[in-house]
């Protein structure tokens, strides 16, 4: 068939100049590679964020301290255990009010001495975040009220210290203070890269406040609201209680901020948009550069094969056949480059993700996009050289030396 011959000729031309073909494809390889890598990493990051959103739960609200600026002076005042206590006592729409405080401390176990993030919180924290035990128990309200020195270890923190399930009941030192290991958690996985519970050690918040850290500053309070439709009302309730508790005058702005799933979703959508734009511009630039390279080499190819074009025309090749032949050659270059780029991009994404701590997700859409882009670039940048070849005058082409 005619189309088979056209394909044969296109491949033959590429095979006759393998090195040149590869160098020409490099632009497309890098372009498509970048797109695939970034989309895979982006999709992985997206999943991580979604997991975090899911882990927070739809009817949870978090409040934490925020900077305020009045007349050029920026102030920051932490939330305190007193604020948390006020919320716990007065909120009517909350089923749980869970403050947490934290700090980095030296932890000694046996001959191990690691710097670990210590989180002081209440027992509800574990159920709120859906954490599971691998061994032992979580600490209890009893531990809380007695400010017991008990610790629940995240899986990575335990592993780093060489503590296994059989070691529940043994003691370790946090900041020089002796704690009982009462439980080890199951691995939870990173919650988006910045707060990995597996690397934490959890202790009762009272112990943290009065024994270990010696202050009442907390990171924030997570509130479980009775139902999703009461979120806004609950937020209003919290705002009223906190403003009073923190003695803000009416003209002063809130020195705290709420964080809920809605807000997270919005922030996420925004960052996704920026990420998408970045991705698109990188893809566009590299594909344009790659495409120009292909156009250049195709023009060279047309010039080199002027005589061949003349012969083919003299033997009855229509313009459209010559056009198709060169177009197919540039598309083949692009698609081949695209395929190599996909493999390269996948590999890069895997390497980067394994160091970044999230998974790589190559979606069918991104593959389709890459193939589509490759064909598009091949068509767009191939059409000019191909039409030049097609329009060649047979006699002039035959006379070309």
């Amino acid at each position: 068939m005619l189309i088979l011959e056209i394909i044969r000729v296109a491949f033959g031309a590429l095979l006759a100049n393998k090195g040149r073909a590869f160098l020409t494809m490099l632009g497309i390889i890098i372009g498509v590679g970048a797109v695939i890598a970034m989309m895979a990493i982006g999709a992985g990051a997206q999943k991580a964020v979604q997991d975090r959103i899911a882990s927070m739960g739809v009817n949870q609200l978090r409040v934490f301290a925020d900077r305020t600026t009045t007349r050029g002076v920026t102030r920051y005042r932490s939330l305190t255990t007193d604020d948390a206590q006020a919320l716990r006592n007065e909120m009517t729409l909350a089923t749980a009010v869970v403050p947490d405080m934290g700090g980095q401390y030296q932890v000694k176990y046996g001959n191990k001495n690691n710097s670990v993030r210590i989180t002081g919180t209440t027992p509800e924290y574990f159920s709120l975040r859906n954490y599971q035990l691998a061994a032992g128990r979580f600490f209890t309200n009893g531990d809380m009220s007695a400010s017991q020195r008990v610790a629940v270890l995240g899986s990575v923190a335990a592993e780093n210290l060489g503590i296994g399930p059989q070691d529940v009941g043994s003691t370790l030192r946090i900041g020089g203070m002796i704690f009982d290991v009462v439980g080890i958690m199951e691995s939870k996985g990173s919650q988006g890269g910045w707060d990995n519970p597996d690397e934490n050690i959890f202790i009762p918040i009272t112990t943290a406040q009065y024994r270990l850290m010696g202050n009442n500053r907390i990171n924030g309070v997570t509130v479980q609201v009775v139902a999703q439709e009461w979120m806004l009302a609950a937020q209003g309730e919290m705002e009223r209680i906190l403003r009073r508790e923190r003695q803000l005058r009416p003209e002063q702005q809130n020195d705290f901020r709420f964080f809920n799933q809605q807000e997270l979703a919005t922030t996420f959508a925004e960052s996704t948009k920026i990420f998408g734009l970045l991705l698109a511009s990188i893809a566009a630039v590299s594909l344009i550069v790659g495409g120009i390279g292909i156009m250049n080499i195709m023009l060279v190819s047309v010039t080199e094969r002027t005589r061949e074009i003349g012969i083919r025309k003299a033997l009855g090749a229509r313009r459209s056949i010559i056009l198709l032949q060169f177009l197919l050659e540039s598309i083949t270059l692009c698609v081949l480059g695209g395929a190599i780029g996909m493999a390269l991009g996948y590999w890069v994404a895997k390497v980067m993700a394994s160091s970044g701590g999230w998974e790589v997700i190559v979606t069918p859409q991104s593959l389709l996009l890459a193939v589509g882009f490759s064909v598009g670039v091949g068509l767009f940048f191939g059409i000019y050289p191909a039409s030049r070849a097609a329009k060649l005058d047979p006699i002039e082409a035959l006379r070309y030396e």
Binding site: M1, E5, A16, G310, A314, L315, G316, R318, L398
Partner: protein, 265 residues
């Protein structure tokens, strides 16, 4: 030119009649007869070709009237630069005239689209060049198959006809060879096979022996004589008298004009 056309056409009809009456059809050509008459293949009237080289204008052809009917073996001679190649390119629809009328097998070539011209070059014309013009990276067989590919033939029929054409020019044992693995004479035979494989109305050969030694050249000319004997219409360009002697009709070009044509004597 347009207003003159009916008269030109009338004249061509009269001339065609003269050919029909005056010529004896070649033997074995009966299949190509049309209502018992010999078909007029080439009818050229007032053909001019001007090349523009910057500001310079080269009048390569200045008013050519030419009729060639089916089965003829025409030798086109003349000094170098007289316009022989230019005329051949026009006949072969590789180029178009600056002025004049050209009917190929009765249809007006000047009004044809690119696709139609490609079809004419593919089906009606077989061109043999002085420099062979084979595709260097393709085997003899594939070179011969190319016109059939563009003609839309299936691969089996293509192979069969290309093989037959190569056998006909005596290259049955060189099918898988590439041009650079063959002698000049063998290459030109491949080119002839390629020109013949579509069974064209006219075989055009522009100095086909120009790049060959005398013995090899003669074998090509012998091949042409055989083709002519089996009814093939041939127009051959040469500047050697002994080559021209092979043909039945001799046309001499000089400065873009027909100086003599023994069909008109």
């Amino acid at each position: 030119m347009k207003t003159a056309f009916p008269f030109v056409y009338l004249r061509s009809i009269l001339q065609a009649r003269r050919h029909i009456v005056g010529r004896i059809p070649a033997a074995g050509n009966s299949a190509k007869h049309w209502k018992g008459h010999t078909l007029m293949l080439i009818e050229m009237r007032g053909i001019e070709k001007v090349y523009k080289l910057g500001s310079e204008r080269v009048n390569a052809l200045r008013g050519i009237d030419l009729d060639v009917s089916e089965g003829e073996y025409v030798a086109l001679t003349g000094p170098s630069g007289s316009g022989k190649s230019t005329l051949m390119h026009l006949i072969g629809c590789l180029d178009s005239p600056t002025a004049g009328r050209y009917l190929l097998a009765g249809s007006d070539v000047s009004s044809m689209s690119d696709a139609a011209l490609a079809r004419v070059r593919n089906r009606q014309i077989g061109f043999v060049f002085q420099t062979f013009n084979l595709l260097p990276r393709a085997t003899a067989l594939h070179n011969v198959e190319i016109p059939l590919i563009y003609g839309g033939l299936g691969s089996r029929e293509r192979r069969r006809r290309a093989t037959a054409a190569l056998e006909r020019v005596g290259l049955a044992d060189r099918m898988k060879h590439q041009p650079n693995q063959m002698s000049g004479g063998q290459r030109q035979r491949v080119a002839v096979a390629r020109a013949l494989v579509t069974d064209p109305s006219i075989l055009l050969a522009d100095e086909p022996t120009g790049n060959l030694d005398t013995a090899t050249g003669n074998s090509i000319l012998e091949l042409f004589a055989q083709l002519h004997a089996s009814g093939q219409t041939i127009v051959l360009v040469t500047h050697e008298a002994d080559v021209a002697a092979h043909a039945r009709r001799h046309i001499v070009l000089r400065d873009g004009k027909i100086e003599s044509d023994d069909a008109n004597k």
